[in-house]
Structures are given as C-alpha cells and as structure tokens.
Assembly symmetry: C2
Homo-oligomer: 320 residues x 2
C-alpha cells in the first residue's frame, strides 16, 4: 500500500508519517487492513532533517506537472495536509487561492485519473465557520469570514462532489485548533495558542494577541493524528453518502483557563505579554469556541479528556 | 452607467436586457438611481435576432482574455447569468467546471481590477440543496447532489469572499425553477416544467420525466427578472455583511397541480406523455419543493400569487 502525505514536512505531516511508520497498516479501498509499503512526503522545501524510511518529493504543488509526477498510478491514498495557513492566506489572497484551492483541484484531477480509486483525507478547519453561533452543531452552515475558511469550504465541496461522481473516495475533517504544537510560532492566526504555553515552559516570552476571555476549540497533536488515521480507516458506508465532512471533537477552553493550567504545571505566566492584534483577534473570534460534534463521536473520532493532560503530553514529548 | 450581462442571449439574459432598456435606470454604487447608458450582452454564439439598442460581444467566457477585453474599466455592474445548466453539467463534468466555476473566477478577478467597485449579481440556484429537508429554511446548509449545484455553491462562496475582501460588491440569488419558459426544451433537468404547459398549449406533445406527485419550487420569468434587478438595486447595508446569498421566494406546486391548472386554461392534457427518466428524476428530487424564505421577503423580493396567473402571463406573452 502506497500513501502520499502533502505538506509532509509540516508539523502534522511529520507526526503522521512517523505514526504510519509505527503502526505500519491502514484499511485499504476494499475495507481490509493492509501493510503500508511506501510513504511519500510531498513538500515545498527540503528540510534539514529528513525522516528516515520514507521517500520525499519536493516542489510546487500548485504546478500541475508536480502532482502528475509525484502521484504515481499505484498510489492508494493521500493525506492532503498542505496549506497556506490562516493569517498568511488572509495577507496574500492570491497565494492562498493558488495553494489552498488550485492545488487541491490539481490533486483531485490527478487522483481522478488513477486506475484504482484513492482514499483522500482532507484537513479542513473550524475556520469555515465565521460569526458562528455560541455552539456549532453538525448542520450549522459554514459562513467563513476569512480567505482561509472560504478556501477550505471550497475544498470540502469539491471533495464531496468528486466522491459523489465516484472519482475518488474523499473524507474531510474539520480540525480544531491544535495545542500544544512544539517548535516556533507560525503564520496561523491560532499560533499563539501554543506559544502562550510552550514559550513560558522554556523560560521565554510569549505574545497573547487576543482577549484572555476568548474561547477556543482545541485538540492535542496526538489525538489529531489518531483522528486523521481514523478518517482514513473508516469504510465508505461509515462516512455515508450525503456529506463527506465532519466537525472533529475538541475541548472548549478560554485563554485564561489555559494560562491557569500552565501555572499549575510550573509555567511562569508572567512571561505572557498581552499585546492585542486586531486582525488576529477578528479571525480567532470568528471561529467557534464550542461545538456539539455528535456525528464525529458516533463515527468513533476521539477527543482529549482535559487541558491538563494536553500540557503533560507536551512536556513529556519535549523531554523524551 | 454601464451594465454587462453574461449569458446575455440566454432566456433570462434577453428578458433582463429588455427590461433594463425599458426601465432605463439602476441604483449605482453610491446608492443613487442613475441612467443606464450602455448595456453589453456577452454570450458564446451570435443569435439570429440580436437585441436592438444594446452592444453584444461573443466569445468563450472561460478564456481569461475574453473578460479582460469585454469588461472595460468603466463597467459599473455585471449580471452573471452564463452557465452550463444542470443536466448538461452532470453529463459533462469538465465543461461544467470550466464555465460554472473557472469562468466565474476569471470574471471576479477581472472585476477585482476595476478602478471602481462593481456590483455583481450572481444567479445561483436551489440546486445547491440536495436531499433537502421537507421545508428549506434560510439557514439550511447546502449539500448539493449535482455537479451544477456544487459549482453554484462554490460561486456563492467566492462572491461572498470577494465582497468581504472589498474587491467587489456581490449579491447571489438562488433562483427557483422558472415556469413557464417560452421556446424549446433545453438541457436543464427542470426543462420539462415549462414543456408540460407550453407544448400542450400549442397542440404539441410533451414528455413528463418525473412522477406527477413531484413537488417543485417555481417562479415566473417576469418575477425572476424583477428580483434580479431588486438584488442589484438593494444597498450594501440591506444585504448585510454576513452572507451575500439569499433563497428567492417561490410557489410550491406538484406536477399534477400544474397539469390540473393547464386543463382549466383549455390545454389538452392528454398530450402529456409520462416517460420516467431516472437521471432527471434523481436531480429534480434532490431540489427543495418548499422553502421558508423569510430573509428574501424581509429584503423585499417578490413572489407570484398563484400558478393560474403564471399560465395567464405565459399565454398573454405568447399572443402579444
């Protein structure tokens, strides 16, 4: 079984690749658990530390020729994680359209021409909701208030339609904000959610650009990876025919609550500097802070128990 | 004031052009009623009977160069009606994507570069709803079950986002099925809705491809045109900031009820031949038969009173 991960050297891509290497098996198009023979990571720029035991292909995914070469006829499935993140897509509309929309279409067109129907897991986002109600339900309509959210919802509709036309077997998961990411801040509007925990734990300053009363819908990296794999492994009939999109479970937490939890874990909360940023506040406010994810739970998607365990997971992984 | 109509020689395009010539004025970007100096009809193929007092430009709207030349810097507004209709988009996926999605993007990109922000009225469709509930509400999420419906919902999201980014001033109206169209049947899955009235009235046979108990959501051509113009004339604040999309009012009627009304107007109903078509039945069944269009009525969009008056409108226009 041959699996492709786009955005393979992004944070989630690397975690997913390592997890796939560890478990070694996925459910194939016939519903059978099969050994993964080949994992191909696709990304723009070659990283300093390439992952062992996977193949890597580097290039511009918005160039049609790239996917035509990178996705060979024997590919069984794709985890499509590559994206221009929220603040970056808001700042550069054309770049967001090119990578978040055009490249997704090119990928779908390539997969449509595969001799065997490929499973495609698409990482969408709760950013498809803008000015969402207090609690988002499974059938709350998506009215994005960001270019990123708009590009993600277009990707979802395309994948649902390509699936209906029997060109692919698509699955879209709307990811909560991921906390706590290791590494450095990025251009996601949600980047601070990890920063305000991660930086103080290593004695560094962190900027909080939003009001501390801001609610967030979050999930830990390990649970996100588990859910991406679950989205792949579910059979066609478990996804149903009507919608190939699901809101993932998550935890509702305010910034203040995260900071309180950081304190109980020995973090120096005085290192967090409040510096309101209007653009980031507007984007983050437009995302849902709470969701009722009945469908996802019925389909067996997982959640974190509480934020304390998410901090502990982060601390453990940093030490190990 | 310079107005462009794409699909200008389609049925609605021609009606709209004639109506604009008749009323002579539209509300401009500043909210003032202004004289229309120039109407430009854009279409693929030159018709036998071009409309007097308008300019026409013919070509392929999916070629970027076409809109770049046809939409000059002094264009104030665009009615974007050009589309590959439902059954045709279902039969030829690539053609539907090219015209219904790519050409819309090219138009939006051209308008984004205009020196003054253009109003764009986009004709969407109730086909964005698939397996809709018994009554569609303003906030019922769109889950299209046709390529046409998917392409229309993507157009809506693009127009809402281009509006939010302040590139254009977009307005999307989801049109009911239009009855009764004059002329010949076309490739719209809804084409029979007009056929079963129009053809018997002129002594010809008509095919009914769906069950006579099928419910439809319909509006007359004259009311549709009135609503397209109303969509244009409304000020930005009347559209609001959250969604630039509205479900238009309509009448709920079954095929059997339409045929009963035809009979009372002297139509020979024995000319209607039931010949079930699975593809058409599936598409038509996936559209809503009834809608609760509170938002549209609050915004001042119009509706027909009853189906009898729609038949009478058709008979009057055929005679005059």
């Amino acid at each position: 079984m041959k699996i492709v991960i786009t955005g393979g050297y992004g944070f989630l891509g690397q975690l997913l690749a390592k997890k796939l290497l560890e478990i070694g098996k996925l459910v194939d198009r016939n519903g059978d658990l099969k050994t993964i023979d080949d994992i191909i990571l696709i990304d723009q720029i070659e990283p300093k530390n390439p992952i062992k035991d996977v193949r890597s292909i580097f290039g511009d995914i918005s160039e049609p020729i790239f996917f035509n070469q990178a996705i060979t006829d024997d590919v069984d499935g794709v985890f499509h994680l590559a994206a221009i993140v929220s603040s970056a897509a808001e700042a550069d509309f054309d770049l967001g359209m090119k990578v978040n929309l055009d490249a997704t279409r090119i990928l779908l067109e390539r997969c449509r021409k595969l001799p065997n129907k490929a499973k495609i897991v698409f990482s969408s986002s709760v950013a498809v909701f803008g000015n969402a109600p207090l609690i988002v339900e499974d059938d709350t309509p998506a009215l994005p208030l960001s270019s990123y959210g708009m590009q993600k919802i277009l990707g979802e509709y395309l994948i649902s339609e390509y699936t209906r036309k029997n060109y692919i077997d698509g699955r879209c998961v709307r990811l909560p904000t991921i906390a706590i990411r290791p590494g450095k801040p990025n251009k996601a509007a949600s980047s601070f959610v990890s920063s305000i925990i991660r930086e103080p734990l290593s004695g560094e300053n962190a900027i909080c650009p939003v009001d501390r009363s801001q609610s967030l819908w979050i999930q830990s990296p390990s649970v996100i990876i588990e859910n991406l794999i679950h989205a792949y492994n579910l059979n066609q009939q478990e996804w149903g025919t009507e919608s190939r999109v699901v809101n993932l479970p998550g935890l509702t937490i305010t910034v203040a609550e995260m900071i309180a939890s950081l304190k109980t874990h020995g973090g120096n909360t005085s290192l967090i500097i409040d510096k309101p940023d209007e653009t980031i506040s507007r984007l983050v406010k437009s995302w849902p802070g709470a969701m009722n994810t009945k469908r996802a739970r019925k389909m067996g998607f997982k959640n974190n128990d509480n934020f304390d365990s998410m901090i502990e997971e982060f601390i453990d992984q940093q030490i190990s």
